[in-house]
Symmetry: C2
């Protein structure tokens, strides 16, 4: 296999929602309370909902921006690449990067819809969340058949409503849901509480994979108020190990044996170390902690049930034989600052080029197709889905960085993030 | 090389301080305020200092206890193995485990002496801390020449006093100091503040290695109040990645190029992933964050300056070629629950047995000797320092688990730890 023969499906990208998204999907009764976009005096665009303003942070839409113009400042739609919010340009940006399929996490509602859970009127919140899901499935994804894996948001304030929304979306062909890596940090019950059982049961019944994205606890790990932002950017992905441990030692995986969970943007380089660690703890401590995995090891259960996801992780790829090769998926993370766009194939190939073709195919697309119930080949022949074929069709897409002429005056520190509540920066 | 030919030096063990420790080392003026041991109504022994009671938590002294009697309950001296606090029995327990050298972290003062920093009279606090260090160096370590690497505690409330104490102890041959993995969490300035420069300078001048032990921020990472204790035990070591990132992106390593830092009990399995990550972040973000490592990569600076430490970490050992083989040290962690005592050689050998002898010697003892300025061979011939030789001399030591007839009535959850302030459980 050559680099251009890879078929790339990314199970982690992000949409910056376009201002008109609710127009066709919200019943008239709720139109006055729907989130809408306003332009602030500084020229930045914000979503406004229920008295809250949600800016679009620079690092969340830096695709196509020069690296010395990255930053934490709020942005306007005309400062970000149109592929962030325009579905036609998004598809062309995917083509230019050789990516056939993509699953898009939300931006302004937060990673698992936390914003809607803070609605003063939760009936309105549910209607708006459902409109969001309808827009995502019926408009964003449906505009480009065969190019997107739909991903729904759950009404996290009500497990029965979550279950109903999972079933409603599954009936429409959406089999992935974004949930919180740690609902306890959102002041909701933890994974250890049976509170969530109706939700887990619905996902299990419908074959809907639960995606826990880094940052979806709305809690960043701060080392110190004066720590430079590099510290936070370093720690953000590896903090998913907290969710991994929480979930593994909780009853969830053992109680719902058909449930699938993905650690979105979680990386894979830490997995062998984590597996060694949990098995040692189990052997040493289960006699007094009461944990029981039957005749199995915790690492076996973990690797068998968790879909692992990585963007660019050479030390993880080297250790693929310590994971379940059928449960490792690739990500592009467009348009965030960790994204490898527009050179994803060039970044990925050195890590996987020496593996056998079957392993490359699993990691680049087959595992994603299986676990997320997605089939691009139903829409176009396989040979037209390769990196080379897609890029050939997008030779006219300009991927050179475009300056917007703004540059931070001061260094951004971790403490600057404290003033931007409820936003990840992944 | 065979297993019995290894020479083992552990750079992380723990002493449970004996009740009479201050008798010979504290000026009369302070004897009335010195910490002392009292027995509570439940039969457990506690240290009492300045109105605070500090229990000895079960997991901190489980060596020799059956695994179904592990737990978080307070203990008394007669319930724990005498090697925890008695220097003669400690040496015999080391012999029985084939360990020639050991560096012992404190117990009741917390990992970097936090207890003394909370003294209502800091003049008394300093006198008591100095007495602690004198006991540790002149009594605990000096009782068994050639068997211990001395480790001092710093008066963390005053960087100038820290520098003076570093110099005072260096003159006595102590070249290791325990400091906090994150002083910001102790309500002190962070690594990013020049506040600590006198301390870093003294350590740099004196060739004193700064040991950052997991848990020395006095902050545990809790996922949820109802998370089982297994979650916390899993996450405790990997949280050192926070200190690693904090230190690497701070000015410290670049400002003090001769300073050495050890990540005590930090493990090594996560290192290759961490190195990939920081280099990617540097290449992608330094243009706007302003980080500058000259012509080098952050991972190069990290690996060149940080001494890495592991107890039992098979996936880390497999990736030793991604680290600096001259800066990886082994640990035993006696008598904590992560310890491999009394089968440390049997646990370590399968991981290192296939490496060449030179690498095994570096990891098991040569690196420790170099970075911690310790030389057991000055006291006894090398051939008498091997696992086989030491164990042959300790054939009469009984290492079978000894029941104390107590067993937890209920499961311990993470929340139970919240009631035990300032204690790690590593």
């Amino acid at each position: 296999m050559q680099m251009n023969e890879m078929i790339l499906v990314s199970v982690d990208d992000h949409v910056v929602e376009p201002p008109d998204m609710f127009r066709r999907h919200l019943p008239p009764r709720w139109r006055d309370v729907a989130p809408h976009v306003e332009t602030r005096e500084d020229g930045s665009d914000v979503w406004v909902y229920d008295g809250n303003e949600i800016p679009n942070i620079g690092l969340n839409a830096v695709a196509g921006r020069p690296e010395d113009e990255y930053g934490m400042e709020p942005t306007s739609f005309d400062e970000i690449r149109s592929g962030c919010y325009d579905i036609r340009d998004r598809v062309r940006d995917m083509d230019a990067n050789g990516v056939i399929g993509s699953m898009c996490f939300p931006s302004f509602p937060n990673l698992c819809g936390q914003l809607f859970s803070r609605s003063s009127d939760l009936e309105a919140g549910l209607a708006i969340l459902q409109a969001y899901n309808d827009w995502h499935v019926d408009e964003w994804c449906a505009s480009a058949p065969g190019r997107f894996i739909p991903l729904m948001l759950p009404p996290i304030w009500d497990p029965e409503a979550m279950a109903a929304e999972v079933r409603r979306n599954a009936a429409k062909g959406c089999h992935a849901v974004s949930f919180s890596e740690n609902p306890s940090k959102l002041k909701l019950p933890s994974f250890h509480d049976e509170h969530w059982d109706p939700f887990w049961q619905a996902c299990s019944d419908e074959g809907t994979i639960v995606c826990l994205h880094i940052g979806s606890s709305s809690k960043l790990v701060f080392t110190a108020p004066d720590a430079p932002i590099d510290v936070l950017i370093t720690l953000q992905p590896i903090n998913i190990v907290q969710a991994a441990a929480d979930l593994l030692w909780s009853p969830v995986l053992r109680k719902f044996p058909d449930l699938k969970v993905a650690l979105s943007e979680g990386g894979i380089g830490w997995i062998p170390y984590f597996c060694d660690r949990v098995d040692w703890i189990y052997s040493r401590h289960h006699a007094w902690t009461g944990q029981d995995f039957g005749g199995r090891l915790p690492s076996e259960v973990f690797l068998e049930r968790i879909v692992l996801c990585f963007i660019d992780d050479p030390s993880g790829v080297v250790n693929l034989d310590r994971m379940d090769i059928d449960r490792v998926c690739w990500e592009s993370d467009y348009p965030h600052s960790d994204s490898t766009w527009p050179i994803s194939p060039e970044m990925l190939w050195p890590a996987v080029g020496d593996l056998n073709d079957d392993v490359v195919n699993r990691v680049t697309h087959r595992n994603a197709m299986h676990h997320f119930r997605y089939d691009p080949f139903a829409e176009r022949p396989r040979e037209e889905c390769t990196v080379g074929a897609l890029r050939a069709s997008a030779a006219d897409v300009d991927v050179t960085p475009r300056s917007v002429g703004r540059r931070l005056e001061k260094k951004t520190g971790s403490a600057d993030l404290l003033s931007i509540p409820h936003k990840g920066m992944t």
